[in-house]
């Protein structure tokens, strides 16, 4: 709830002074805004549906199109079951762990397990608490679904689902609490408008660790592993793009100027990033590609996520472009020097553009660069330092805990299918189906 309170408070204070998101006393804010606003509620209902759209079918299609036809359905089943599992966990204890009433730095406590105490009248800022729960649930369900891009075409369904259930419990909820639930990062005054750290860096790290633990696909670097359907990937990309308006502008938790700025920035950062990726492609190999355009779109969206309501529309173009170019070089050059198989570049795009976005939010938020400015008394240097600190905590936490959870999962249900099953394709061997009968 605090996330909302904060940003709502921020929004109303917008005309007077631009403040970064920081933890405030929730009760005080609630005393001020204690009636429902139907306009804010309308926008948050819609934003929630938009983020749901990013999961079903956004990320599933984006990923499904990128793998070989024989595993196209496995990404769909994995995404669906992971997201559904997290939704159940969310109402059982996830919401409480992340946004519960406890004053802890890392943990929201058990006070709201089974959503206890919440009714249709409960408010969170100017919107019903049920709606805030639903909105935040979509974030929690989307994030682990991003991770599976790191080890496609070889992971066991049960392994993927179990790992994600553990991961949200021991990584996502604590870090969400730190960032939005009144925990550590909040007390530091981190600026993370829509979850660059909690969602993207977090997922990128877990995917990288997973790619390392699970090992590369059989035939990597030898067999043709070209995307089986780029139109499918493009549909997925576009749905992610449109859904991201709910993700970013919805994070204002209101239908106001801050949401509007976040939306405009989401457009311009994406535009800058897409043009940048295609330009670099053209310069380095003579051709701009459709997968390049899609990759640029995602890189831009990731980069602008923490910055959406804090920077100006022109600054966002540069922010998106920088995130995109660095991701490009990571994916096209750096990655090839290492042996790991982060198959769909979850780390290369979500992780890398996530880092860039988190740091640059602290830069482009400066009023001199068109941003809304820092909190009273905070300098750009100080803000960048806070940004770096919270990214660093996320990385360390993510690497260590994810590694342990992969190992535990491997022991309990196993992480990888047999070589024969992998060669035949997961659709046949794990799901008993074929994607196409044309």
């Amino acid at each position: 709830m605090k996330k909302l309170s904060m940003i709502t408070g921020l929004a109303s204070a917008f005309a007077l002074a631009a403040l970064p998101a920081l933890a405030q006393d929730a009760e005080v804010v609630e005393a001020v805004v204690d009636t429902i606003d139907s306009g804010d509620t309308a926008w948050m209902l819609m934003s929630t549906a938009l983020v749901a759209f990013m999961i079903f079918p956004g990320i599933a299609l984006f990923y499904s199109g990128l793998v070989r036809a024989k595993s196209a359905l496995s990404l769909i089943v994995q995404t669906a079951l992971i997201a559904c599992t997290v939704m159940v966990i969310w109402v059982v204890y996830g919401y409480s762990f992340a946004f519960g009433p406890s004053e802890g730095m890392f943990f929201g406590g058990f006070g709201k397990v089974f959503l206890s105490g919440v009714t249709a009248d409960s408010l969170s800022g100017t919107i019903p608490e049920y709606l805030f729960i639903a909105f935040q649930m979509t974030f929690a369900a989307l994030t682990p679904a991003l991770i599976i891009g790191g080890f496609v075409e070889r992971v066991k369904l049960s392994g993927a689902v179990l790992f994600c259930a553990l991961w949200v419990t021991f990584v996502y909820f604590p870090i969400a609490h730190m960032a939005w639930g009144g925990g550590l990062f909040g007390t530091w005054g981190v600026m993370d408008f829509a979850g660059g750290t909690v969602v993207h860096i977090n997922a990128g790290i877990a995917a990288l660790v997973g790619a390392y633990v699970i090992g590369p696909r059989i035939g990597l670097g030898k067999d043709l592993m070209a995307p089986h359907s780029l139109p499918l990937t493009f549909i997925g990309t576009s749905i992610l793009f449109v859904g991201w308006f709910g993700f970013n502008a919805g994070s204002a938790a209101a239908a106001d100027g801050s949401a509007s700025l976040a939306m405009l920035n989401t457009f311009t950062a994406t535009a800058g990033a897409t043009l940048a990726w295609c330009l670099v492609e053209t310069l380095t190999r003579g051709k701009a590609s459709a997968l390049g355009a899609c990759s640029g779109v995602i890189a831009g969206l990731v980069a602008v996520t923490p910055a959406a309501g804090f920077v100006g529309p022109v600054g966002a173009i540069f922010l998106g472009a920088i995130g995109s170019i660095i991701s490009f070089f990571f994916v096209a050059v750096v990655k090839n020097k290492f042996g790991y198989d982060d198959s769909l570049d979850v780390f290369g795009i979500h992780g890398v553009a996530g880092f860039v976005g988190a740091i640059l939010t602290g830069v482009f938020a400066a009023p001199s660069l068109g941003g809304v400015g820092f909190e009273e008394g905070v300098t750009m240097g100080a803000q960048v330092w806070v940004q770096i600190k919270s990214v660093a905590v996320t990385i360390v936490w993510g690497v260590v805990v994810s590694f342990i959870l992969y190992k535990i999962t491997d022991v309990i249900v196993g992480l990888r299918v047999s070589a024969d099953d992998e060669r035949q394709g997961l659709d046949q061997t794990s799901h008993g189906e074929s994607a196409y009968h044309l």
Binding site: M225, A226, L291, S295, A332
Partner: protein, 112 residues
């Protein structure tokens, strides 16, 4: 009877079919294939991953004709499929021992 197998460029299919119809060929089987030969393939890059696609799309025609017609069929394909550029394709001729029409049970040249 002869079975004439020809691999040609896909966009030449219609032209070849028409030319063959004109000289009295009344049936054929057409398959989309991947050709490998002197004509080189191409490279595709997906993010960092580069793939050499060594095959070139071609269509394969299989036509069974009476012995007497075989040479004319070969010549006709030669003419219609030619673009004088690499990858124009190949024609192979094989002997056929027997042919039967399913609908009527007719055999030999009558079946064609």
């Amino acid at each position: 009877m002869k079975l004439i197998i020809a691999a040609v460029k896909p966009f030449k299919l219609e032209e070849v079919r028409e030319a063959l119809t004109a000289i009295g060929v009344r049936g054929m089987m057409v398959t989309e294939i991947k050709g490998f030969g002197a004509q080189s393939g191409h490279t595709e890059i997906y993010r960092g991953a580069e793939y050499a696609v060594n095959f070139v799309p071609k269509v394969k025609l299989e036509i069974v004709v009476p012995d007497a017609l075989a040479d004319e069929v070969v010549d006709t394909i030669l003419k219609a499929a030619k673009t004088d550029k690499i990858g124009d394709g190949k024609i192979f001729v094989l002997d056929v021992a027997q042919a039967v029409r399913v609908r009527t049970g007719e055999a030999g040249d009558d079946a064609l």
